[in-house]
């Protein structure tokens, strides 16, 4: 079945699923962060999305932009660390990019992710190859855009984007970190998968899974 729009309730379900996925991957993400960071990424993201869950009821009946901006604010005020401002910015800028919509087209989705990823890059100043979440997000954005431009429906385009995110995530393994806490390790950061790239992949994959579930 081709998917041409994402209605608001699916966005809300995406956020709930993300909360669940991050809870399930709390230890995994934390373990990744222990290797090259400070062992809190999973704990932080889990705490942050628990806060999101508690605030969703207050905006569920508003537009997609409001839902996403509230998500961003909740993350900003609860995640902390590097992940907080970055994912906070990600969702706030995603919300700002799509404004008062009740459903998203494929093109809207590109706009949303473009705004989100731009925000992360502006805030964190990471370049591709620095071994950060940008290494998962940017390839995903590119893949999504190309697929949508080529006429793919949302599900197919998202499948490609998630695959690109997964590849980008795995590609961080051989990278030498140049941003964030992992950068202090120099050569010793090589050989480990970046926790932020991993959470980015999981978040995008949660969107795909939400859509697949209902499609």
């Amino acid at each position: 079945m081709t998917v041409t729009t994402i209605p608001k309730d699916q966005i809300v379900r995406w956020l709930r699923r993300t909360a669940q996925v991050l809870e399930e991957n709390r230890d995994y993400l934390t373990q990744l962060d222990a290797a090259i960071g400070d062992a809190d990424h999973g704990i932080n993201m889990d705490r942050g999305f628990k806060r999101v869950l508690s605030q969703l009821p207050t905006v569920e009946d508003k537009d997609i932009g409001s839902v996403l901006k509230t998500t961003g604010m909740a993350l900003l005020a609860s995640v902390g660390g590097a992940g907080g401002p970055l994912y906070g910015t990600f969702f706030m800028r995603a919300g700002m990019a799509v404004g008062g919509k009740q459903e998203l087209t494929a093109q809207d989705l590109v706009t949303l992710l473009q705004g989100a990823v731009d925000g992360v890059i502006q805030r964190g100043k990471a370049q591709p190859g620095d071994k950060t979440m940008v290494d998962a997000l940017l390839p995903a954005l590119e893949a999504l855009r190309e697929a949508v431009e080529a006429g793919d429906d949302i599900r197919t385009a998202l499948e490609k984007a998630v695959a690109a995110a997964e590849k980008g995530m795995k590609d961080t393994i051989p990278m030498l970190a140049k941003k964030g806490r992992a950068s202090y390790l120099g050569e010793r950061s090589i050989g480990h998968q970046d926790p932020g790239a991993t959470s980015s992949y999981l978040i995008l994959k949660a969107l795909l899974d939400t859509i697949n579930e209902t499609a």
Partner: protein
Amino acid sequence: MKKLINKPEDFVRESLEGMALAHSDLIKVNFSPTFVYRADAPVKGKVAVVSGGGSGHEPMHGGFVGKGMLDAACPGEVFTSPTPDQMFEAAKTVNSGAGVLFIVKNYTGDVMNFEMAAELAHAEGIPVQNILIDDDVAVKDSLYTAGRRGTGTTVLAEKICGAAAEAGYDLKQVADLCRRVNLNGRSMGMALTSCIVPAKGTPTFELGEDEMEIGIGIHGEPGRERMKIKSADEITEMLALAIIEDEAYTRTVREWDMEKGEWVEVELTDEPLKPGDQVIAMVNSMGGTPISELYVVYRKLHEICEKKGLKIVRNLIGAYITSLEMQGVSITLLRVDDEMLRFWDAPVHTPALRWGM
């Protein structure tokens, strides 16, 4: 997990509640959002000095709130930078109109969160300055990393800038002094054991029975090098020489331009220590190392400084900037001039640092 805690998720809150009960003459603690502030804040006409960072480094920062030091501290979750709303609310609470200095340790998370807080404060009409502390010589270059981490110099900067604010310095003067303290302070640390983040429940890294980690950060991040444990004298020499022989270090930092209301990039370079310099020497426990061992380290540090022509004019030995229960030590040398020394000696009364009153 061998800790005196209840549920891991309650640890930071309960610890702060205990601190508030113990030191109600000095501090108050606000929750949601969380910050510790001077019981008598805002202090009329005084620049407010505010810091913050992940919890787990106690007594820093909350233990340094009080007379002659910090006006507020924003504790995050363990090893996790606090959030902009905490900093913003703290700033609103302690600002007397003379503005707020945010003293920020250079970690990506802290920097980004404090930048967002500064933007919020500015929007609210609060004069604000962010000064970074990046003194950890274990991090060599700034081009290919997030730059040097903020460690021991933070404690000294908070004391000195707190005293300057108390003495009536205006915001620009306190910020300038803070920048100068940072450019004169250098630190390096090491760990004998890993700490355990309560929420994680297992050691952040595994060290063999005969291993240590040199150039460790204060969040249990792995350091630069793992090696067989050496004697206290050898370890002290490694840390002290890394500090003393460190070359000039240049970095570009973002500071807030109050007039323009925007971030500006500033290039800062510090000067290596040289014979004849006067220094404050801090020998700091990472949390689990007892003071008897710190004195063994200080003994050797004193000898090395003498040999290198550095004069230790003051010292601070104890657990001031820690990583939970980690065993290990960090050394900080801060080159001081008369102005800094005068503010160092000024009376201070906080839960963790007290003299002259």
